[in-house]
């Protein structure tokens, strides 16, 4: 009896280890592949020789070249889009955090009259959304108003559409509920003590509530920041032609669309001059460098900021998710 149990346990253990390791490798393999491809020579990338390590001029050899990164580094439009994304992610997260924290604080107060109605007002946006066309028209109108406030016009690219993206997008009712639940968990006695000492609501929020729910705040800020960093669709939709306002995701996608035909040299439409005219960059030597290597290099560049902060905040996810999950 004892022996049989151990065998089944051992088999299960082996199966689970194998499965987990295989899945973990699958999860990071595309990134390893992207790094290797960005460092490989043109022939290697276009003939599909790269599987794991960077490949040089001949099949099976190992060779590293930094041409793709050199080209990306010298491409000013890419770095402008990169700076745009950093700016939008940073300012946008701060803006979202400010109103979400204040709103969640107010909603966490049981004595607040009309609390259920306000909650419903938020949650309804999770159930029903107007759809793409109404949302598009709304953003367009917002853009026109913002442009008028800034003293420019929306059409023609003189208006900085980044502000439209920062102000009007990125709200998320789930994050409000996450924060509200965390604030509800703060003991009432501490708040009472602060109130007796004469603290105002704002002081209570910033001196008592925020320090006491750091984990959730970090999680929520991370969610906001990542959705800002990764946002593509509406940025692409609202600023299709004006490339100096593009975020990096839109830039990468446009670059792929522009260069997907370059693999086939007979395709006249996709000339490098054409690409450079549309998405920036100079001096592309397509004898030594593949457009796909450039795409990989850009992907790696765009992933780096997330990879940098990821290990530090990874421990907060589990906490934040479990808190926000099932509760009412």
């Amino acid at each position: 009896m004892k022996r049989k149990m151990e065998v089944s346990e051992l088999i299960f253990k082996i199966v689970s280890y194998v499965f987990l390791v295989v899945f973990a490798v699958m999860c990071i393999y595309p990134f390893i592949y992207a790094i290797s491809s960005s460092l490989s020579s043109r022939v290697a990338v276009e003939n599909g020789w790269v599987t794991f390590l960077p490949v040089g001029e001949t099949e099976g050899s190992v060779g590293v070249q930094f041409e793709a990164y050199r080209w990306v580094l010298n491409n000013n439009v890419f770095w402008i889009s990169y700076a745009n994304t950093l700016f939008m992610a940073f300012v946008g997260t701060i803006w979202c955090m400010i109103y979400t924290m204040m709103g969640a604080y107010a909603l966490s107060k049981k004595r607040l009259m009309g609390r259920r109605a306000f909650n419903f007002f938020l949650v309804f946006t999770m159930w029903f959304s107007a759809g793409i066309v109404p949302q598009y028209r709304n953003y367009e109108a917002t853009g026109e108003i913002l442009a008028a406030l800034a003293g420019t016009t929306y059409a023609g690219g003189s208006f900085d559409q980044k502000w439209l993206i920062i102000l009007a997008m990125g709200m998320n009712a789930t994050n409000v509920i996450l924060l509200r639940n965390a604030f509800e968990g703060v003991p009432a006695e501490i708040e009472e003590a602060a109130r007796i000492d004469g603290a105002t609501e704002m002081q209570i929020l910033f001196k008592v509530y925020i320090p006491m729910s750091k984990a959730t705040i970090a999680t929520v800020a991370l969610f906001f920041g990542i959705s800002r960093w990764n946002g593509y669709f509406w940025a692409m939709r609202m600023m299709p032609d004006y490339r100096y306002n593009w975020p990096v995701q839109v830039y990468i996608r446009n670059f792929i669309d522009m260069t997907s035909g370059l693999i086939n040299p007979e395709n006249e439409y996709y000339k490098w001059e054409n690409v450079i005219q549309n998405v920036g960059g100079t001096g592309f030597d397509h004898n030594t460098l593949s457009a796909m290597s450039v795409v990989y290099a850009m992907v790696i560049c765009a992933v780096i900021p997330i990879l940098c902060i990821y290990p530090f905040i990874q421990k907060y996810f589990a906490k934040g998710v479990n808190m926000g999950g099932v509760k009412e």
Binding site: M26, F31, M113, I132, P134, M171, A318, N322
Partner: protein, 362 residues
């Protein structure tokens, strides 16, 4: 006078001696109470004005950019051709349900029904394959007793969740890309190469690989690749909730089961599964609820003209009408139908969850 007295008798007291009416004492008490109630309400509102002020920015943001767009839904009931198509939605003439009739039975209806079907299929397969995977992953995670090993694996499997849709779809496109050489034998993406090597006799696969852009843009393979990348992206992260439920199982339960001679499978069946069942049920109900809200960003990035038959969902159908200058009223109507069904599913699922287990997400 007599008539008036009769009518007022119910709530006023008539004093015969003085000939005057007065409010009865108990009613006065009730009135005072009600007055003080409204006084209390006003007082509370005034006292909490700071809280309301803190709430205002958030409500304003949601009002302006979540609720104001809903007024545009009126366009679904209006004639887009009024005034040569130049009028604002509010000024257009009412059109009844004609837009919906055209959507369901008109010239655009085949495209709409195909989009509707695709939305459903993508969502359903997502549920079928995407839901059990994180649970299995959580059960396997429980077997890894070393914290360091588990942390390393977790760091790897959570990672794709934080990548942008653009990057995920880019990687999918290039890993499944078509061959570059003219004879179609070399230069294909690593994964297309892998599948071609695995199934050397499949002519349809060889043909599909040749699709412009690769397997992602082939209608038959789009669905599979969409689901696989979906699992790849969310599987690890979604397992967090289930893993929390699995590690909450008390070790004594396992010991008791072992004492009774239960093997690993029996422990799974009689100890672990019952303990995490409530979490599973709730997550399942929630998943069913959000069935129709397929993320359109990923679908948009993975679709092209060649895989439209399989890859166009209602949202991208509506977006295509907007981009190509088609009849946006019909696009609005289409998405409204989709989102209303979605909303009914969410509310239904939520109330079932509330009844079934006293917990719900909202």
């Amino acid at each position: 006078m007599q008539l008036f007295k009769l009518k007022c008798d119910d709530f006023l007291e008539y004093d015969e001696s003085t000939g005057t009416y007065s409010i009865p004492a108990d009613q006065q008490v009730r009135d005072a109470h009600e007055k003080s109630h409204w006084k209390d309400v006003g007082y509370t509102l005034l006292k909490d004005w700071r809280l309301y002020l803190m709430l205002v920015p958030m409500l304003l943001v949601y009002l302006l950019w979540r609720y104001l767009p809903m007024t545009e839904l009126l366009a679904a009931f209006k004639d887009p051709q009024t005034g040569g198509g130049g009028l604002e939605v509010a000024d257009q003439y009412w059109y009844g349900l004609t837009n919906f009739y055209n959507l369901f039975f008109g010239t655009l209806s085949p495209e709409f029904w195909s989009a509707f079907r695709n939305t459903f299929i993508i969502a359903f397969y997502g549920l079928l394959f995407g839901f059990p995977f994180p649970i299995i992953l959580a059960l396997f995670f429980n077997e890894v007793k070393s914290n360091i090993t588990r942390s390393i694996i977790q760091v790897c499997v959570y990672l794709p969740k934080f990548m942008s849709t653009v990057i995920i779809t880019t990687l999918a496109i290039v890993l499944f890309r078509a061959p570059t050489s003219a004879d179609g034998s070399t230069g294909m993406g690593v994964l297309s190469q892998l599948f071609v090597t695995m199934f050397p006799n499949s002519e349809s696969l060889k043909e599909a690989v040749q699709t412009t852009g690769g397997l992602v843009f082939h209608p038959e393979y789009f669905r599979a690749i969409y689901q696989v990348t979906g699992i790849w992206e969310h599987g690890g992260y979604d397992s967090i909730v289930f893993f929390a439920a699995v590690i909450a199982v008390s070790p004594t339960s396992y010991e008791a089961a072992q004492m009774d001679g239960a093997g690993k499978m029996q422990q799974m069946r009689y100890v672990v599964i019952p303990s995490i069942l409530s979490t599973v049920v709730i997550m399942l109900i929630m998943k069913v609820g959000s069935l129709l809200s397929v993320g359109y960003e990923k679908v948009y990035l993975m679709s092209s003209g060649s895989n439209r038959l399989a890859a166009e969902i209602v949202a991208t159908f509506s977006n295509r009408l907007l981009e190509t200058g088609g009849d946006t009223s019909i696009g609005i109507a289409a998405e409204m139908v989709n989102n209303l069904i979605g909303m009914i599913l969410v509310i239904g699922a939520n109330s079932i969850a509330r009844k079934a287990s006293d917990v719900s997400l909202y």
